[in-house]
């Protein structure tokens, strides 16, 4: 076995430094392991309390908050719901969610571009949470960085609005690779924009053949019933 990297091969060369005043210390540690540990703890905690947590990711302005507000209204109290809002600054989204009457906690990430599992762990302790509830985590509007950070959620839901362009899955593949469901939102605006829904779905499936797709217009309510059915199904399967 290679004594340097422990890879099981002995016939390859590394750039070894053999000066005696230098030491090489093998670390072999996953850089995101700390986040992953917190995410695993969150997942175990959520599971233990029968909660279904979803991580909503998208560009800024895709309509995440409006979709969540309309979803909470459409579900009409069928499940206890809590919301964790992530934004760089302000509690504007939390105020909109609070108007629906569900419990909400705003996290301001400041200089950071994503939510991480450590912050979510604290939020889960700080929020009043009921057993068997739905926990919606609205991540920072950003199609890049949040893809890397597992929060302990059951699934990532990526929201793409038709004003953003149908090629976003190809441009931001990591997020679509990670998502279980893609919601194409603002479909009421389709007559006014050049957005090819079929092409968008094909691009997303190219990145992630398993991804499910739903279409909604959160402001008119179109497709919200099917989306709520998807949620009910996930909740049912989660038991």
């Amino acid at each position: 076995m290679c004594g340097y990297c422990g890879c099981g091969q002995s016939d390859h060369q590394h750039e070894h430094h053999h000066e005696h005043d230098q030491r090489l210390i093998a670390i072999e540690q996953d850089i995101l392991a700390a986040n992953q540990d917190y995410a695993d703890k969150n997942r175990a905690y959520l599971s233990q309390r029968g909660m279904l947590a979803l991580n909503f990711v998208s560009s800024p302005g895709s309509g995440k908050t409006t979709l969540l507000v309309e979803t909470i209204r459409a579900l009409g109290g069928a499940y206890p719901i809590s919301v964790i809002e992530g934004d760089q600054q302000t509690d504007r989204d939390a105020q909109r969610i609070a108007e629906t009457g569900v419990s909400v906690l705003q996290i301001n990430t400041g200089k950071s571009c994503h939510l991480d599992a450590h912050r979510i762990g604290h939020a889960l302790q700080d929020l009043p949470l009921e057993d068997n509830s739905l926990v919606f985590i609205e991540n920072v509007g950003n199609l890049v960085c949040p893809a890397l950070f597992d929060l302990g959620e059951r699934a990532k839901v990526v929201i793409l609005s038709v004003t953003e362009g149908d090629d976003k899955p190809l441009k931001y593949p990591h997020m679509f690779d990670q998502a279980t469901l893609m919601i194409i939102n603002k479909i009421d605006l389709l007559p006014y924009v050049t957005f090819d829904v079929d092409a968008c779905v094909a691009y997303a499936k190219r990145i992630n053949p398993e991804i499910s797709v739903l279409k909604t217009a959160a402001t008119t309510g179109e497709g919200i019933d099917v989306w709520c059915d998807w949620l009910r199904m996930q909740k049912h399967n989660d038991r």
Partner: protein
């Protein structure tokens, strides 16, 4: 740009290692970064000296070993090499494959002196 946060995570690991091994300065740090890891290597190289400016890794050389993306194609059942998640299988042109390598983001080792 999450690369700066990644640098802070690296420094947390290094500081724990430094305490364990009684180290005061790191000369070279070697990372393995997969081509499919969602990390921009230039951004990582740019961010690291800034993040490390007041740490035990101040002025250290950052060596990044890229890890090739590999996947198992569900159609032609071959192991294939992919440069990105939107590459088609070079053998059969399908996109249905399971990534087996290339999402790594690891600290391999550090050289201290």
């Amino acid at each position: 740009m999450h690369e700066f946060n990644i640098c802070l995570d690296i420094l947390n690991i290094l500081e724990a290692q430094a305490e364990q091994h009684q180290i005061h300065h790191i000369k070279t740090l070697t990372l393995a970064v997969g081509n499919l890891a969602g990390i921009e290597i230039d951004a990582l190289k740019f961010s690291f000296p800034i993040a490390a400016a007041k740490s035990i890794a101040k002025d250290c050389d950052l060596v990044i070993i890229p890890v090739e993306g590999r996947a198992h194609c569900s159609h032609c059942v071959d192991e294939i090499v992919i440069k990105s998640l939107w590459d088609a299988c070079p053998d059969c042109g399908n996109y249905d494959y399971e990534v087996t390598q290339g999402k790594e983001l690891k600290i391999r080792n550090m050289e201290v002196g």
